[in-house]
Symmetry: C2
Subunit: 300 residues, 2 copies
DNA sequence: AGGTACTGTTGAGTATTGTTAAAGTGATGA
DNA sequence: TCATCACTTTAACAATACTCAACAGTACCT
């Protein structure tokens, strides 16, 4: 790909301007004067031989045709900024960085992290909960806890555990709907859905469990849809309805009595959770210890 | 994210240098002199307060610690270059751009494209076969033909058709292995696998079909694994073994007698193929006609 | 209408970046 | 061992980008 990029400073001005829709704001963000931005934008129009900005009252805006171009440019600068955060991570005092799916971190890892910290005096761990997978390059300084096939894009991955799912509700809800204990009636109760997003199509939903038991799918629409399991479980705990919960995410709340398991029947998640890491990760001692610890934890 | 980027020209020099491992080559690529590159690299080291290059004999190289940083920076510049190709597409004389999964384009779209070109005199169409999904921003000037949930990241999507799969082999192979006509013996025959990659976990494989018919999974390892269905079908046509083929991809070769369907039993693909497009796409007449045509084709 | 407050543009002077050419630096070979 | 080569670095001039200050257009208020 031998395409000559336009002058980079001009691109940066364009990116900032397009995002903020203001020459002044862009100037402030880039730490230059508005005049400089104005000149750079003109320069870029000149280089690309197409108009990019139009005046809308006293403001200036992107022309519609430049919108998609800007989107890709903005993406590129995002990556460049990401690279800076990677450096910041490398140079930080943190011993172990762990990125993971939000609920996996908060409901599975967090509760047992004490045991690791107790055994490793003075170790500092940073947890980062994100839905989207990080750049593989980040894995040189970071573990990633994720689900299923997403792990395959990373240099190294080992399965942690394969979870099971079953329906749960709140004690309070069970009082109002005692029929919930009869699996055949679950299809008609209010329920809470968990949406894993388009990339995870094989994850069991309430419908999956019902069909596995030979019952019809839910007759109502979900009373709420959550992108986080933990948020869905909160909704269930507050009595909003039933949901198909994962054992490892619900176990704390089950122990506390905030949630009740309505059926002993469970469906298995089709794929395990994984821990992933990069090639330079195991050269340091503390990450190595962490990996061994977490693999042992998962086998219990 | 309020992180100050380093001087961009320095980043660009770093990106180019890191990729080419040579100051001279980087200078040539960026159309400047080696001295400028050298100075910019020093500037970047200065800005980041960390060493980036080391001398390896008379060459200069990246220090290992900078490798992952470089990977992300390079990704960012790739995006910026992509943006240029997007502009090039916008300004090109092509009426209709179609990006799609390779085999879907070559085996399904290509054969019926004549009928569209015949009906639309003088229309120019460009086909681009890629496995990876394009930036959503590209969809403002491009259709994308893809499979299943991948379609959900794009602004608009309509299902085309839901394919079915069944085992096929070459006539020649059938002569050598007449037992192939007995489904129960398929598990023990040489076979060819199609690997859709980590993002498509629900796609049927030979194993899926066998299990659906109540037979054991393949007893041997696949004699070859292909990332393209079309390449797998070529291997099968050359007599390498059997494979689970999709009706729409195999139909031409079945008609020509290059492939033979060994069983009438078929498994359905769990998700349909989709055609996807962006918001500004249907403002032009020719893309609108194309969309209508392709949706009609798919219903046949 | 006219004043005021914003926002963006323009042009000449200053600072930063790239060029040119000469000087290091390690590998290679007679 | 010294000349030579391939490559990179350094330092003084030329080109590019930024600042500053004055200007021009638009909105809003009285």
């Amino acid at each position: 790909m031998r395409s000559n990029l336009p002058p980079l400073r001009a691109l940066q001005a364009f990116e900032s301007f397009g995002r903020l829709s203001s020459v002044n704001a862009a100037a402030q963000e880039l730490g230059v004067t508005p005049g400089a931005i104005s000149q750079q934008l003109k320069l870029l129009e000149d280089h690309l031989q197409m108009p990019l900005i139009m005046k809308d009252g006293r403001r200036a805006r992107l022309v519609p045709k430049a919108r998609s171009y800007h989107a890709v440019i903005a993406d590129g600068f995002d990556k460049l900024r990401q690279a800076q955060t990677l450096l910041a991570q490398q140079n930080s005092e943190i011993d172990i960085n762990v990125s993971g799916l939000p609920t996996l971190l908060s409901k599975w890892l967090q509760p047992r992290l004490q045991s690791f910290e107790a055994a490793n005096e003075g170790v500092s761990i940073r947890l980062e909960a994100t839905h989207g997978e990080p750049e593989p390059a980040f894995l040189d300084h970071m573990f990633r806890l994720t689900y299923g096939a997403a792990s395959e894009v990373f240099p190294h991955a080992r399965p942690l555990f394969q979870d099971v799912c079953f329906p749960v509700c709140a004690p309070d809800f069970l009082k109002r709907h005692p029929e919930a204990l009869d699996p055949a009636s679950l299809s008609d109760l209010p329920w809470v859905d968990i949406d894993w997003g388009p990339h995870y199509t094989t994850v069991p939903k309430l419908r999956t469990w019902l069909e596995a038991q030979g019952f019809p799918p839910p007759s109502r629409k979900p009373s709420s849809i959550h992108s986080l399991s933990s948020s869905a479980l909160e909704a269930v705990a507050s009595g909003q309805g039933i949901a198909l919960a994962q054992l490892s995410f619900a176990s704390v709340d089950l122990g506390l009595g905030r949630l009740i398991r309505i059926s002993q029947e469970a469906v298995k998640m089709p794929e395990p959770y994984y821990i992933c890491w990069g090639s330079m990760m195991l050269e340091q001692e503390k990450p190595r210890d962490f990996l061994n610890w977490i693999l042992a934890e998962a086998k219990i």
